[in-house]
Symmetry: D2
Subunit: 339 residues, 4 copies
């Protein structure tokens, strides 16, 4: 850590800060600059207590405390310089092949799900998404079919061969969801529900971790650290839009996460443009951008009849529009060096 | 709902929209304005499906869809025009008396907790806070003493008479925490962990619901609706700062929530300036502002030795500073018509 | 406008609101719904006074007031359904050809500018950017070479044939900058400096309007309206990142503005990834995304020696990296149907 | 500056960074820690070039660059430890006396202004506000009466003795506005229009600098630095709400700016709750909070008939409500130790 002292403080005040640094187990190293004196506190910031309290303990003497170590380890490129890949059935995410996970926001009925699954498979999707447990802002909105939805997803997998991804909302559902689903999704609202992250990690299933609505990159990486630290290497990050002041779109899809995650971490990065935009008419352009920028996969909401969807109809593509999108995407996937 | 049509659309397009409105169970009512035609869709927006999908179903004809009903019911002033109060031991929150809940961020040891509890009681606090289960951004940070921490809180209550408030992180802890604690706290990261909200509500204990870092007022009220809809009327809202672009403070404490919650809802509003500022040196002014603006209670972090705190030392007051704050607060509490 | 009344209000209160609507020149139209009564106020919202004051005039009776008309006219697709193009020298922005405007953040010297201009021209850039008047957060930072910088830009144009784009900071500079520059740039900090917008528009030169750091799409379109309303049709919008809670990047580049501006407005959309990221290592991916999503042009900062740049070195590409980027961009531009 | 190196880099890479530091005029000072090597670069960060480019020049070797000096000087408490006060007519802002500046959003007519001025003076306001030049999001909205408005303000001052504060939008108006107005207001949209700040400073009149909608504290202080560096010591900061994701209020009034500005700077801090809330019904509570937290003055919009106001009617108080507010404020002003 770096401790910046205020200008013109008494020698005794400086000595007190130095004593405080030693008391917390760090070795102080003084550096006198032109306008400020700075103390380097040498010690491992991850295993030692934070020195940030020095600023409030010595408010007259300490101007600021700057951490210098990264707080994440296992997700970092330092720990694992090459790309990680995640195996899902016969597919590999994070490798040469570009993947598209598609399906309805919520599983509503056998007919709705199977129609969608068959159509997205035909259009080129490699995995099937569908919500069985739905986190809804209001208690009066449709909360998902639950286990019945999971069974329909398993049936759709059997019929189409598409591996399945679905969200879990509770530690107590982890075993159940892992039984039916090939990938466990942690939603944006639960991205810092650490108990849920641990329970999902412990099933051993691949975990797709959505970014929380107001999560900084560092916090997202640290949430991913909870998965890796619980001995599950099959982690994927999924950007789905952050909350900003803009009201035209539901969220602001932050596509810069693609080069950033690739730079800082080794796990695959997936983009969810449906949640990001909240509007089907913007999804196509966002998919193209994501493919061009190097995303490993897309997660897209598709519904046979969005107007009658039980949740988030406004952001779901029709089957026809999805097939059209898949065609339009091809040159961009190829230009990005993917298949 | 109000459906705004695009200008100059064909009669047949308009007719299709009207048919769509009827199909979703609403009664259309046409209103031709100067620049736009508007359709009022008459029906209960809470029990009916949303018409927002019309904008994507008829992208050439529908410009926007505006909901007009409030989505929350039980938390609203319409449902309960007078103030609700919450009984905690011999105390009543939301009435004439102003309350201060104080104590350490984390319970660390018997000595640390009892020293703090005795000191804050003496200074005038009426309840004791302390974290036993801690949600930490990094898996390498101190995660709380767990049940041992709960037992220490119960012991401190016995010694001081102060009712206890502590956070729970998991549905599976709800019964356990309710056994030891007088108030259950839902933290900001779990504010839309609806399974946790339901589990907390079902214990029957008062629930203090912190605002999520990027939660709009409406979403916060709807999260509160999950508590009331699960037959627990003892709800309190707690503002603790939202995430903004500002980096000087850890969060931006939104004190306007005091008049807003008082206007929209009937439950008490509590302010947590420690989390809001993340800096002890700003806490005092924020407490004064909160008292002046009509908050029902404060939730303040206090530690005998913040520099050695196991979590969030920078934002915890010393025992002396807390006692000084309590004295300085008095005229503001009185000016606000409280005791 | 739509006026939503509170439930269960007295007939007399309703009558007062209706009278208020008439007093402001609108024709009221009552619609009784299941949970709310709604009044459509018929009249032109652009020429009439806003009814939003009704909510504060009749706080017991009016719940909310919803505008239904778009506030922008000339920039809107309704006013001009096909794409607008902007002629700059022999080039056309907004047509089939994709453009790249490149050059240093600040003009520093003849050698620096000419070296850059020649190199970017060779690599395929079609226009030259360079700051002569620099808006700097601190008064102690380099403020630009001023008119000397403009003269160097003109010289570089003569040598390379590249049209020039540069920023103006003051109404009083409008004539001067227009004399030397082919495109006038309005920077993010001045995006709602309406006097500057008007002065720039009146020169008749094409205007590139950057999005302000916290500008909503609607406000950006309305700022563009100031240009068109002052009889200058040569408007371009330029996204350069918005301010969010994220600190990893300097700003969050909102690439969703590409499909949004294309949908709402008819003017070209340009992307500035250098300001958006604030980090050269992220610029390449962002350029690919922008090209893929349908941007009309890019605005990229390039410097012969970024480490010695007088401003914003961290976000400027080297000449070699720029040439490499131009090659890598080609397949994406082609995939987007551009040249 | 502090340069943090990546772990495990080659000696030659480290040597190159050190050479780079020297080339930019700093003295390097190496500190080897447990997990990172850190280089302190000794030199004046205000007069030297920034080292932040090192991160892009040596992307394989440099992890991050941390500035340690504050970028503002004249506004800082280090430069001027005691409070500054601003003299306006016979009044002193920033001293013992608490001030209220009140008046209409826009000057509309002699009758409107004089009625308001007389009423606010009677209720206890000490200064008169009123907009003559109005920055409006849309070119179709009322832009102010201009010089005629200034003359009406001067007349109202003559009749009531209240000094006048009004906004200027253009460098070219600085002399004119300074002729009529006692305080020059820089609005939020122009808070980083540095040419305007310089022009306003040079008139010698007191300058009230509103915080921009997405301005960090540091940027606001640096904008203030433009005023002081142009030899005008009569600076006041005015918080009026920042832009956040919340849509219930127009902006989020950040009252924590009161203790922060008091801590970092020596100039008075004024709170504008009308812009901050955008809703008259929230203004009263915000005024109480501001007074309690130590603000030096309030800036409040008051209109004889808000429903017919030509701008921002929803946030203006009636004359009666203003008089009531002034009475209710008294105990809070007293509790804060002011008169």
């Amino acid at each position: 850590m770096i401790i910046v002292l205020k200008p013109n403080i008494a020698k005794s005040a400086e000595a007190a800060v130095i004593k405080g640094i030693r008391a917390l187990g760090y070795q102080p190293h003084i550096m006198r600059g032109v306008a400020r004196t700075v103390i380097g506190a040498i010690g491992d910031e991850i295993t030692h207590k934070s020195l940030e309290t020095l600023a409030s303990t010595f408010p007259q003497a300490v101007e600021s405390v700057l951490p210098i170590q990264k707080r994440y380890k296992l997700v970092s490129r330092e720990a694992h310089p090459s790309n990680s890949t995640v195996k899902v059935g016969k597919h590999v995410i994070g490798g040469k092949k570009f993947h598209v996970m598609a399906g309805p926001c919520s599983v509503e009925s056998e007919k709705q799900l199977l129609t969608t699954a068959v159509a997205v498979a035909k259009a080129g999707a490699t995995m099937l998404r569908g919500g069985a447990f739905k986190p809804r802002t209001s208690p009066y909105e449709f909360q998902g079919l639950g286990e019945k939805g999971l069974k329909l997803l398993a049936k759709a997998r059997q019929e189409t061969g598409l591996p399945v991804i679905t969200e879990l909302l509770s530690e107590n559902q982890a075993e159940l969801v892992a039984e039916y689903s090939d990938i466990l999704q942690i939603g944006a609202r639960n991205a810092q529900n650490f108990q849920l992250l641990i329970a999902a990690a412990k099933t051993g299933r691949p975990v797709l971790l959505k970014r929380g609505l107001s999560m900084r990159i560092e916090e997202w990486l640290l949430a991913g650290e909870y998965v890796l630290a619980n001995e599950n290497p099959n982690l994927m990050f999924c950007e789905r839009g952050i909350r900003t002041f803009e009201t035209y779109t539901r969220n602001t899809l932050d596509l810069s996460t693609i080069p950033i995650i690739k730079k800082e971490a080794h796990s695959p990065i997936v983009i969810d443009p449906s949640q990001g935009a909240g509007r089907a008419d913007l999804v196509v352009a966002m998919c193209k951008g994501a493919a061009a920028m190097g995303a490993d996969a897309l997660l897209i909401e598709v519904h046979p009849n969005p107007a009658e969807a039980w949740s988030d109809g406004a952001q779901q593509l029709t089957l026809d529009n999805f097939a059209k999108l898949m065609k339009e995407l091809k040159p961009f996937i190829k230009a990005a060096g993917r298949e």
